[in-house]
Amino acid sequence: MPTSYMKLPYEDKVLRPDALTAIALETGPVGFRLDIGLNYYRGLPLSAVEEFTLSIDGEQIPDHLLLFEFDGKLFPLSQLPLAFSDFWSVKKNLTVLVYQGGLKPGDHIVEIGLIMRCVYMQFAPGIWGQIDNSATRTLTLKEAA
């Protein structure tokens, strides 16, 4: 039986210190963007995302406010399982854009829950290995570019 559950030790690259950036438009702060790295030794298709949650300072962001940006394309959470030809390599970030009105300047506790399917490791029909890409870090909000 192959390994059923994996959490590799690359957790520090999931949420790097500069991962959280404010989004501002002419109207002022409108939200934030968060860059997420892969805690795995190889890349995976975006369709391997099985569960995703994001909390800021203990408050979970509703699914409908999560908008993912990857290779110039936008995906709502519900479309990630369909993105089987978009390859999330170990050198790339998956970015989530959240338009919730903006965050206060300073430090924020960022917690992501991210479980991915190990697309080459099947135990039984429909039962796949799982990769835990979750991480929690205190990040300082960068100003909008």
Binding site: M1, T3, K7, F87, K92, R117, V119, P125, G126, W128
Partner: protein, 332 residues
């Protein structure tokens, strides 16, 4: 280094710790490291190295080839995957396997690699795989990887299928991680550093081969206060760090159908000993066979977040050379 027909190569996967963590660390950097170790042949793993997979763009392949030419190193083998779970909710079919295998053969050919390493091809597709390998001029090796052992029924069935097909384009790539006899000290320390209780780790090790299932052992350890670190240890010990008496006799049955070897290792001590994998019996078996080809060193200490690949690779190459030189007079 070529000792009586056995040449040493390095899997670039060995450098994964820095490649994954450091944005600027590239194939070019790895090839510089190969030069320092005097190694020419390398294996590249597509899903690790490329930004697009299963089919990298021409630009990505060109960059690898240009860097290899610059450093006078050679792509010997290409590590592929069959990502048959790529499409969510889809039951994999033969077409899924054939697509990924074909993609890897294309990439291997573009790299100029003589071999592609695959993890998973159903036996009934092996005749087609042999034909595709012939078309592309690239041989296909199925990796024998922990927790599988050479004597396992499914490996022996695959061996019989290879013999039936009779193609030189198909064979095994035994990975020495199959022969781990006990967990390494650096590995156990990593679990302890992540919060595992040494007593619970010993309990897990003692019960790994007691007949208890992975799920039941996890429940028992949880009931004794185990958490995330113990859970990881159980998953590893039932998976890629599975351990037990080395299946050397089973290994010998594969030698006639082995294309090359993944000389996997986790830790080599300062006095050049591998406390985990019985290198001498493995190299004795290879030397006693008619094998001529490559031992591909593959460091996996980064599984424990150890950032010492170059030092460890140097020790591993020397350890292999010492054993091979010692065995050389016995070889006809």
């Amino acid at each position: 280094m070529n000792i009586n027909g056995i040449e040493q190569g390095i899997s670039l996967y060995s450098y994964n710790q820095r490649y994954v963590e450091q944005p600027s660390y590239s194939a070019d950097t790895m090839f510089e490291e190969l030069n320092k170790l005097g190694v020419q042949k390398f294996e590249l793993v597509g899903a690790c190295q490329f930004n697009e997979y299963p089919r990298p763009g021409a630009g990505e392949i060109d960059r690898i080839l240009a860097a290899a030419e610059k450093h006078h190193v050679t792509p010997f083998s290409y590590g592929g995957y069959i990502d048959f779970g790529r499409i969510t909710g889809h039951t994999p079919t033969d077409e899924d396997f054939i697509l990924d295998l074909t993609a890897d053969l294309m990439t291997a050919r573009e790299l100029g690699a003589a071999f592609v390493r695959e993890t998973n091809i159903p036996n009934h597709l092996l005749p087609l795989a042999a034909q595709l390998a012939e078309y592309y001029g690239v041989s296909i090796g199925i990796e024998v990887h922990a927790p599988s052992k050479p004597s396992d029924a499914h490996i022996q069935e695959q061996l019989a299928a290879f013999e039936d097909i009779g193609s030189d384009r198909l064979g095994f790539i035994p990975d020495f991680g199959c022969f781990i006899e006990r967990p390494t000290a650096p590995g156990l320390n990593q679990y302890i550093n992540n919060g595992a209780s040494p007593e619970l780790l010993e309990y897990i090790i003692a019960n790994r081969h007691s007949g208890i299932s992975e799920a039941d052992l996890l429940e028992q350890v949880r009931a004794q206060g185990g958490g995330q670190a113990e859970r990881q240890a159980i998953a590893d010990f039932f998976g890629f760090l599975s351990f037990g008496p080395a299946d050397i006799d089973g290994f010998k049955t594969l030698l006639g159908r082995s294309l090359y070897f993944h000389s996997k290792f986790y830790y080599i001590s300062e006095d050049l000993q591998d406390p985990t994998i019985p290198m001498r019996p493995l190299l004795e078996a290879i030397t006693a066979s008619s094998f001529q080809g490559v031992l591909m060193s593959e460091y996996e200490g980064h599984a424990f977040h150890n950032d010492d690949a170059q030092e460890q690779l140097g020790r591993h190459l020397t350890l292999e050379q010492n054993i091979l030189n010692d065995l050389a007079p016995a070889r006809v």
